[in-house]
Symmetry: C2
Subunit: 331 residues, 2 copies
């Protein structure tokens, strides 16, 4: 069997990890790489990580790379917002190449960015190719998995999704990302700057609502610190009583004035348990739980790769994880 | 919005329950009904259950009904095996109508019935329509849900799926179906007759294997009694020590001599816990559990109805829950 040829756009930490994962799969190979970072242009992928190809160099010119290597699919791991990702997607789709992206807002962009979504959709249909945004969250744990679990329900009254993570054993950058160890003032400042925010909670609610046929009146997405009630000591950091141990972000979606969707994403150093949970109040009630939770770094790279086979079979247009054929690991 | 028009074929207990569920949905209506049972022919659906339409009568002539009411979709709840369901499907597909069926062997028929599968697939493609087999199990708990959970894995070593049900609170017919209260000799006899078997374990293994790209060398499907270690008293029956409390059915699938898939379906009166569990050994490990389990009666009817919207959007051909767009409850 011929390998599926992938061009990767965005060779930051996520792109590198996806490149490693691709190199472990018999059915896939990275045949081109693009990044705008002057420090990366011209480097061989093998210079970034020993698992990666020494035959592929990083180019800054996307269209040139696509013309040259004619990949089967593009994996786009650059930015999180629709405004900046749209022209990148358009450049790829114009070459007739399908796109799998980790762009969070692309996971369900129809409500937050209807015009850009329609533009991508129209172009993809014209070019007979498909585009999807995926990842572990958004893309799976708080949207496509809960939606799929409702398949066995005759009625759904309310959907509650909880993702709790103990960050004590995660890397320092992750702990800093969630504001662990910050004073509450510093936490507020990071929150105002927008650098503490998990992107995608609103998109996840809109994904679930769309699948269930609910037209939400309103959504909210609120960020608060998880405050240490006593001093916390971990291998990688100490946190003083009263400072932030991490972040709690809650999304709520209302239908006809009733709160129908509640998503809680809490990541903190010293969080007692890590788990991912879906609670469906309905007929029947369903409570599904993944003890220990799902490791976000591995899972996002894996689901991105696992979506490649499905995007090749998907209907042309801007798709979501809710309307491409069921993804799974594949060998 | 126009309602989706459904013809139901098979008005036994499952067909009646699906009819009730359809009547509760704003987006669906049953516009025709077919059954070969002489006791049912000519009866109004409302004669079978008060929730059902008094405007629809049961006909024995499928093609006539399809011609007359021109439904959007047919829901087929007649038999469990490919041999007998195939001509029924062909009759519907020849009329250009998509089919959703609870036929267990249709959930993944490609390995067990390759010729019949190819025949249905070819005809459905010619007629530009789609066919899918679904249900809670097979169709969801032991195949499409576990396959979807592997989406977040970079590697899968082994898949173990457990469905345990305490039948103490289920109806008498269900308790008898699982052999509760039988002597071990009587259990053996029912097993030999084939009336104790849960149909679909092999299909579920082949579904998972196909999604993961595994070509299994062999599968087995073994049925044994769950034996009472002491006298058991329940509201609906008493079971003597040494008699059967229920059934344990184990499916195993091997790849290159290694046991890679293990499914256990155990239903017994007095089973300590009811739950549905998926354990994926891989990168990362995933252990997902639904405490209390999923009620099979409600869930099979619900997923059948929930698949209707998706079969209308599916690619033409013989499809599975693994290659139609993600199902979910919809209002």
């Amino acid at each position: 069997m011929n390998k599926i040829k992938v061009v990767q756009i965005g060779m930051g930490p996520l792109g590198i990890k996806i490149g490693q994962f691709i190199s472990q799969r018999n059915s896939l190979e990275t045949v081109g790489a693009v990044d705008k970072n002057p420090e990366l242009i011209g480097k061989r992928l093998a210079d970034l990580h020993e698992d990666l190809s020494d035959a592929v160099s990083i180019s800054e010119n996307l269209t040139e790379v696509l013309d040259e290597v004619r990949p089967d699919v593009a994996v786009l791991t650059t930015v999180s917002d629709m405004e900046r990702i749209t022209p990148q997607i358009e450049e790829i789709v114009k070459a007739g190449i399908p796109v799998v992206s980790t762009c969070e807002e692309l996971s369900y962009p129809w409500d937050c960015a209807p015009e850009l979504s329609a533009r991508i959709d129209k172009l993809a249909i014209e070019m007979n190719t498909a585009v999807v945004g995926t990842g572990v969250n958004p893309g799976f744990l708080m949207d496509s998995l809960p939606a799929f679990l409702t398949s066995v329900c005759q009625h759904v009254e309310k959907v509650t999704i909880n993702r709790y993570q103990n960050a004590a054993y995660r890397r320092g950058p992750f702990q800093r990302k969630i504001g662990a160890g910050l004073s509450l003032d510093a936490f507020e400042q990071r929150k105002t700057e927008g650098t503490l925010r998990h992107v995608g909670l609103t998109e996840s609610m809109q994904f679930v609502a769309a699948k269930l046929g609910w037209k939400l009146d309103a959504t909210e997405d609120v960020i608060a610190p998880v405050v240490a009630s006593e001093d916390v000591h971990t291998e990688s950091m100490d946190i003083k009583k009263g400072d932030a141990m991490g972040v709690c972000q809650v999304g709520k979606g209302w239908l006809n004035g009733e709160e129908k969707i509640t998503l809680t994403f809490q990541a903190a150093v010293g969080e007692p348990e890590s788990y991912d949970e879906v609670i469906i109040q309905g007929t029947p009630n369903i409570k599904s739980r993944i003890d220990g939770g799902v490791n976000g770094d591995v899972a996002t790279c894996a689901i991105t790769i696992n979506s490649i086979a499905r995007i090749l079979e998907a209907k042309p247009g801007l798709r979501t994880m809710g309307d491409i054929p069921l993804t799974s690991y594949f060998e």
